[in-house]
Amino acid sequence: MKRLLLVLAALLPASAAAQTVAIVNGRVAIGDGSPPVDHGTVLIRNGRIVAAGPSVAVPPDAQRIDAGGKWVTPGIVAGQSTLGLIEVEAVDRSNDVAAGGSPFSAAIDITPAVNAASSAIAINRARGTTRAIVVPAAAHYIFGGQGALVDTGSDREAVFAPRAFQFVELGETGAAQAGGTRAASFLFFRNAMLEARDYARNPSAYGGRATDDLLMRLDAAALVPVINGRIPLLVHVERASDILQVLDLRKDFPGLKLVLFGAQEGWLVADRIAAAHVPVLVSGLADLPAQFEDLAATQSNFGRLQRAGVQVALAEGGYASATRQAAGNLVALEKIPGAIGIDWNHALAAVTSGPAEAMGLGADFGSLRPGRRADVVIWDGDPLELESGPVLILIDGVQQSLETRQTKLRDRYRDLTASDLPPAYRR
């Protein structure tokens, strides 16, 4: 009996990842900004893309999946997410996003908090999201800590890139965290960089709180890969003037690998961002002056940044379909006089390869180009249309379940006519 179970377990995910799979007869969009092609093939081996496009030879040993002419794309990448950190947002004990009571900040590594079995991961997977940038909130100091990249696969391992970036607040929120002003938050940041530099030079001499150093030893240590540019620094700013201040930080700290996050007024200084070669993750839908730092918010921000030559991708917060919805809405702008949208091909890239490239990991995931992780979704319609949904999802080449708590609740209550037992017996 035990032996049989082991054999079954081995048959499911591991072997699926190891074998060669060919999705044929699809309307294939690579997710790199190129247009979709009909009768396309996606060839997968060992959980990675071998090739995708119109003329891909299918080896005879490959398992063939006929897409029947349907859309085939890379899985959606959520550019701003808390996946795995929250079960129910308003239930504090199930929410691991913000550690306001911790003495640590930059050192906080969210990896141990990510729960691969969280309902939100399954729900987002079923909507076509296969990877996410998971961002911790800055709750104590301006640094939120070390974020991670996760996949939404139905296995025990969600984090595939731990400590992938550091997160810092340098706008209105940062000012509040640093004691009340922007001047204080930028000073706090500079001080932190200097202390990290001290730590890097001689860790054993670093005083920490025992002297007048502000950062705990581990916080200073965590900022070393930031100051030397080994990992990106994701900076949340919205106001145009804040963006310029952040770009200026590289004068003193040339190693910083900046990624702007938010940047609703980015379009006002698009040329400066482009010249600095700093990637930007923005919302596609924000168009209200939600705070004084985003008075100039407009849905045309993305399009205007892109036209100025900025490397830009979408980071839409919110519900499982919000990422796709934002991408589709950017396409809609192309028909509005005076608005600047983007074409469909770039809209898909904005939610697939775009976020991956912004984090410097475009060679690993986010598109159907050779060598990328085989995260593939077959859709029952145009993937940016909201009536469409996934019919088949592969993550790392492994076919995923589309079942969630939600689908089980739906099936329990789809028929309300009384039967001989209460609904609690239906599952």
């Binding site: 519900y319 809405n329 006089p337 005076g338 739906r410 609904p423």
Partner: protein, 461 residues
């Protein structure tokens, strides 16, 4: 009891017929105190319009009807005719060839906090919750609405919203009176008020009231506390009605006047309530005190009791896919709206959000897709009922707006494509026949005082 109910019905009718500026002109009896039933009357007057014929359009009429290659004629602020190519343009009319694009009734959001929780979201402008007592029926949302909220213009230009209900928040069990607005820019809230629309009373179940007051070690701290305070409050209202009947000189009480208005059937209950079991309790409480719930808002678990809602003739206002942000939203499913609709109950897509209000048509599209994948095929023209007719019905204004029927207000959107597509936006929006938004004309794009002189002033947003 019966005659009271009849009287309530009659005065509701009078209120419904009474347009702006129409005061009750009864002579006061000697010694009686004359109560002004409408102290903050609507001053809204429709803006100028020209007779307009939209031809060659796909018309979704808001009541389940669809006309391909259809025409809609707007005259004097009203829908004059809806039909096919046979409808002729009157002398001097503007004729618009829609080129197959869609024409629908304006979208109505039954759940908005624009103006009482405006942008920017600063404390100085946050006026949605009078969280000083769990029962605050005496407050009126219209006294909080800031007409300069930039959100109104986004709702029009991106969402095709022509009417909306502004509600107090849900910190309280009795949040206060709501107000129904026309989505027209104005210096004053009176200049936005939907003439003759009944008032609503915002009520709330569940987590919010018990959290807000429980944290202060006050009642209600529990769901049973919620219902106990509700019932005690209704008992006070009944008592007040008896006293007023007996002695018209009884001291006025603003809160009890609103509650009495509910018990007389003049004010509509708009009840924030997520969970199925709580909605079932509220339905019983409404029976106990002789009032009717017009709609449950945020009815995340409506699908579990869609049959009860149908039988009670209560609408459910819902999100398409908001899930899990709080415990009472944990059982949200994407097919909720479709299942409520399919059971024959009244389904409404609502926003409760200054961003969501810009895309209620897209939210409905999500529902259509999820419904189809579970085997329920719902026609787009039927789904449009969720966006205009059903909310109008739950607001008591369905005789006047919410669908494209002759004689109704010309609250109309011409979309630049299929409005269930993510690639579609409003091309023009008319409110009472007045063209208040035209995507092709930057001069037909309202800019609030707040945004004037700011970076991005007059941008397409």
């Amino acid at each position: 009891m019966k005659s009271g109910a009849m009287k309530g019905f009659a005065s509701a009718l009078i209120a419904a017929l009474c347009l702006s500026g129409c005061a009750m002109q009864e002579k006061p009896k000697p010694g009686a105190i004359r109560i002004n039933e409408n102290p903050y009357p609507s001053t809204y007057q429709p803006y100028g319009s020209v007779p307009t014929l939209i031809r060659n359009a796909t018309v979704l009429d808001g009541e389940g009807g669809r006309i391909d290659n259809g025409s809609v004629l707007l005259v004097n602020g009203k829908v004059e005719a809806v039909g096919g190519a046979e409808i002729a343009a009157p002398e001097g009319a503007t004729v618009i060839d829609a080129g197959g694009h869609y024409v629908t009734p304006g979208v109505i959001d039954i759940h908005s906090h624009l103006g009482d929780y405006p942008s920017p979201g600063v404390q100085s402008l946050s006026d949605g919750n009078e969280a000083t007592s769990p029962a605050r029926p005496e407050v009126w949302a219209e006294h909080s609405v800031w007409p300069q909220d930039p959100g109104f213009s986004r709702a029009m230009a991106n969402g095709g919203i022509t009417s909306l209900q502004i509600l107090p928040g849900s910190a309280n069990l009795f949040g206060g009176r709501s107000v129904v607005l026309k989505n027209v820019p104005s210096r004053t809230v009176q200049g936005m008020k939907f003439p003759g629309a009944p008032y609503g009373l915002k009520m709330a179940c569940g987590e919010n009231p018990k959290r807000v007051y429980g944290e202060r070690n006050q009642m209600p701290m529990t769901r049973m506390g919620n219902i106990a305070v509700d019932r005690q409050t209704w008992i006070k209202a009944q008592d007040y009605m008896r006293k007023i009947d007996k002695d018209p000189k009884t001291t006025r009480d603003l809160g009890l006047e609103t509650l009495a208005g509910v018990l007389k059937g003049e004010i509509l209950v708009q009840n924030h309530c997520y969970r199925a079991d709580e909605m079932a309790i509220v339905l019983d409480m409404a029976k106990e005190f002789g009032y009717k719930v017009a709609a449950f808002h945020h009815a995340v678990e409506a699908y579990k009791i869609a049959d009860l809602l149908r039988d009670a003739d209560v609408c459910a206002a819902m999100w398409a896919d908001w899930w899990g942000f709080k415990m009472e939203a944990y059982d949200a499913i994407n097919e909720n709206i479709a299942l409520v609709h399919n059971a024959g109950a009244c389904a409404i897509v609502h926003s409760d959000d200054e961003n969501g209000i810009q895309r209620l048509n897209q939210e409905a599209a999500k529902v259509l897709g999820d419904a189809r994948r579970m085997g329920l095929v719902i026609a787009p023209e039927v789904a449009w009922e969720w966006l205009s007719y059903n909310p109008a019905k739950a607001l008591g204004i369905a005789a006047r707006t919410g669908s494209l029927k002759p004689g109704k207000m010309a609250d109309v959107v011409l979309w630049n494509g299929d409005p269930f597509s993510v690639y579609t936006r409003p091309e023009r929006v008319w409110v009472d026949g007045a063209l208040l938004y035209d995507a092709a004309d930057p001069r037909r794009r309202p800019v609030s005082d707040f945004e004037l002189g700011q970076p991005g002033e007059g941008d397409v947003k």
